[in-house]
């Protein structure tokens, strides 16, 4: 079974983000890491490979430096990498990103596409479904478990008060949630081996994409403004006289703010 895992390189997640004049994240200002949500997708892919055999390919759209973060996925055990990189891709939105990934995937043979549920930089969570749509594939999003059997993929999806079981024929796209598994650490041997694994770099011409279809030019959405999160307000300190009064104040607070 061949699996393609879509992996995005994102700025280090704990640092506060900086934005450029065009309201886009200044990526140069931060260390680049594998999108943490994608680590779950990589692990899911590796576990399926261990069970069913086949190959795991890492597909990334990003700057050429994204090879560094792809190596981490290869060190975890993925077999090869595909990087779509082209200066014209800068400023792409979710739809154009999905389009580019779809074009790359049209050249591949696969049974399953795995993605994380969202990326930590933009957090739209739209690319997986958009990608499935463009490829005309069943889209099984927000999976908290993934099983493949007899040409079908089954997932569980958490819903209010329980979970749904969803099944679709392969090839299909599955996006996984955090907690679907515990991503492994790359081993030393994996790191050494990753050096020798192949990362193919593709540009737009190779994918038969016109530059104006993608990047800022092709984007269907545009970020108009970014506003920093408001400063946290100082908390209110209450000194009740008795436990009963404390309980009443807490209950009132919860009710007034519609928590209960």
């Amino acid at each position: 079974m061949n699996i393609v895992v879509c992996v995005k390189q994102v700025p280090e997640t704990t640092a506060p983000k900086e934005f450029g004049p065009d309201n886009r994240i200044n990526r140069a200002a931060h260390e680049a890491v594998v999108n943490p949500f994608d680590e779950y997708a990589i692990e899911a892919g590796l576990q399926l490979k261990e069970k069913h055999g086949g190959e795991v390919t890492i597909l990334t759209m990003g700057p050429s430096g994204a090879q560094d973060t792809m190596r981490k996925a290869l060190a975890m055990g993925a077999d090869r990498g595909l990087l779509v990189s082209d200066p014209a891709l800068e400023g792409s939105d979710t739809w154009t990103t999905a389009y580019v990934l779809a074009q790359a995937l049209r050249r591949e043979e696969y049974d399953l596409i795995l993605t994380g549920m969202e990326s930590t930089d933009a957090r739209t969570g739209l690319v997986p479904a958009a990608l499935a749509e463009q490829l005309g594939l069943p889209s099984l999003t927000y999976a908290s478990s993934v099983e493949v059997e007899d040409g079908n993929v089954s997932v569980r999806r958490q819903v209010t008060g329980g979970y749904e079981e969803v099944r679709g024929p392969t090839p299909a796209l599955v996006s996984v949630v955090k907690g679907v598994n515990e991503p492994r650490y790359p081993s030393l041997k994996g790191i050494m081996a990753a050096k020798r694994k192949e990362i193919t770099v593709l540009d737009l011409a190779q994918l038969e994409i016109q530059p104006d279809e993608v990047g800022a030019a092709g984007a269907k959405t545009k970020v108009l403004d970014v506003t920093p999160r408001p400063e946290k307000q100082a908390g209110q300190v209450i000194s009740p006289d008795s436990p009963e009064e404390a309980a009443r104040i807490i209950a009132d607070f919860l009710q007034v703010n519609k928590f209960i």
Partner: protein, 381 residues
């Protein structure tokens, strides 16, 4: 000059750092408090390949260079120095003598399970009467009909008494006369009749690392358990210690970095006189000096490793790095406690542990005084 680590070294550093932060540091307080060996942590490190980092792939290791190994020991020790020394002593003192002096058969037999971290190995040099003066060893190994018969005591031996301890390589007097004694290295597997792992020490620092006294009473091992040439033992252990110093230096750098991490965080959070204490110049300068010294100690350590990787003479660099990094860690721990005030004395803050841990970096594998002796000698003084 190229101060950049390779992509691969960066990946290994990040792996060690993530692992230390997520898997080692959260358990350190427990293991320290209970003076319990962290079997689960070591097993995970072994699984990832950290217990045989600089061992060639042909013997089951990761085939990394000394620099990569030093960077890994630093990051692991940043999480917990006890784990750092377990890994460093196992690798530099346990495995390296086999690779440096062993026959091909000995390498094939002993190294792969050690590189895989399935078993730990120790190096037994120190004795009650032979510490800094390690050549004064009194332990004897006499050859009788194809067997070395060993009698004596070894003190403070790291990794010797765990459930997974595979054995110890010891120095012993194998002949010669007073003033011209012949010292050799002998391999003693765990379970050898007459070899007893005796008392466990109750230590102030590195409490989760395993340290035992070893007793040999007519312990018998086959003649082929001689490691390297007969009579070369003195020269051999000096060479082992030369390399070991790089890893102890790295350990001290990691520990000093942990002191900085905790202190910088605390100084930003702790408010007195209406502002974070980091804004008081005397506190800030402690942090600045700490960071500056750590940077220097790290560069010295990396350079010693770099020299070794190039097959150059690294002895003086290693001794200087070990001496300096040990002193830097002790100063950093002292200032870390000071910056934490009363909380620094409380065991629920990690700096209390750092303060107890740092001191051994100035004692183990040659005291500061011995490092100065070594450096002085190499300077031709």
């Amino acid at each position: 000059m190229d101060f950049d680590l390779t992509d691969e070294q960066v990946m290994i550093r990040d792996l060690a750092r993530d692992f230390a932060r997520n898997e080692i540091a959260p358990r350190a307080e427990y293991y320290d408090h209970h003076a319990e060996f962290p079997y689960d942590v070591i097993a995970k490190l072994a699984e990832l390949g950290f217990m045989g980092l600089p061992v060639p792939e042909a013997y089951g290791g990761a085939g990394a260079d000394t620099l990569t190994y030093a960077v890994a020991v630093e990051e692991i020790s940043r999480g917990d120095a006890s784990v750092g020394i377990t890994m460093a002593a196992h690798t530099s003192l346990g495995i390296m003598p086999f690779l440096m002096f062993g026959s091909e058969d000995q390498k094939q037999e002993y190294v792969p399970p050690l590189a895989a971290g399935q078993a730990l190995w120790s190096f037994g040099l120190t004795e009650p009467q032979a510490g800094s003066d390690a050549g004064a060893t009194r332990t004897r190994a006499d050859l009788h009909s194809g067997f070395w018969v060993i009698n004596g005591v070894k003190s403070f031996i790291t990794n010797s008494g765990t459930r997974i301890s595979g054995g110890v390589t010891i120095t012993a007097v194998t002949g010669g006369s007073v003033g011209d004694r012949e010292i050799s290295n002998i391999i003693v597997p765990a379970g050898t009749p007459g070899y007893t792992v005796s008392r466990e020490y109750d230590k102030m620092g590195w409490r989760a690392s395993d340290t035992h006294e070893l007793a040999f009473a007519d312990a018998r091992v086959p003649e082929i358990n001689l490691l390297g040439e007969r009579g070369a033992g003195f020269h051999q252990f000096l060479r082992v210690l030369d390399g070991g110093r790089i890893s102890v230096a790295a350990l001290s750098v990691g520990l000093a970095q942990a002191c900085y991490d905790a202190s910088a965080r605390y100084a930003e959070e702790r408010v007195q006189f209406g502002r974070p204490i980091a804004q008081f110049e005397t506190v800030r300068n402690k942090l600045v000096d700490m960071a500056t010294n750590i940077e220097l100690a790290r560069l010295m350590t990396y350079r010693a490793a770099w020299l070794k990787d190039r097959g150059r003479d690294f002895r003086m660099s290693a001794a200087m790095a070990k001496l300096f990094a040990g002193e830097v860690a002790t100063r950093a721990a002292n200032d870390a406690v000071q910056i934490h005030g009363g909380y620094g004395v409380m065991e629920e803050f990690p700096v209390a542990r750092y303060w107890r841990d740092c001191k051994i970096g100035e004692i183990g594998e040659g005291t500061n005084e011995v490092q100065r002796m070594v450096i002085g000698r190499l300077l031709g003084l």
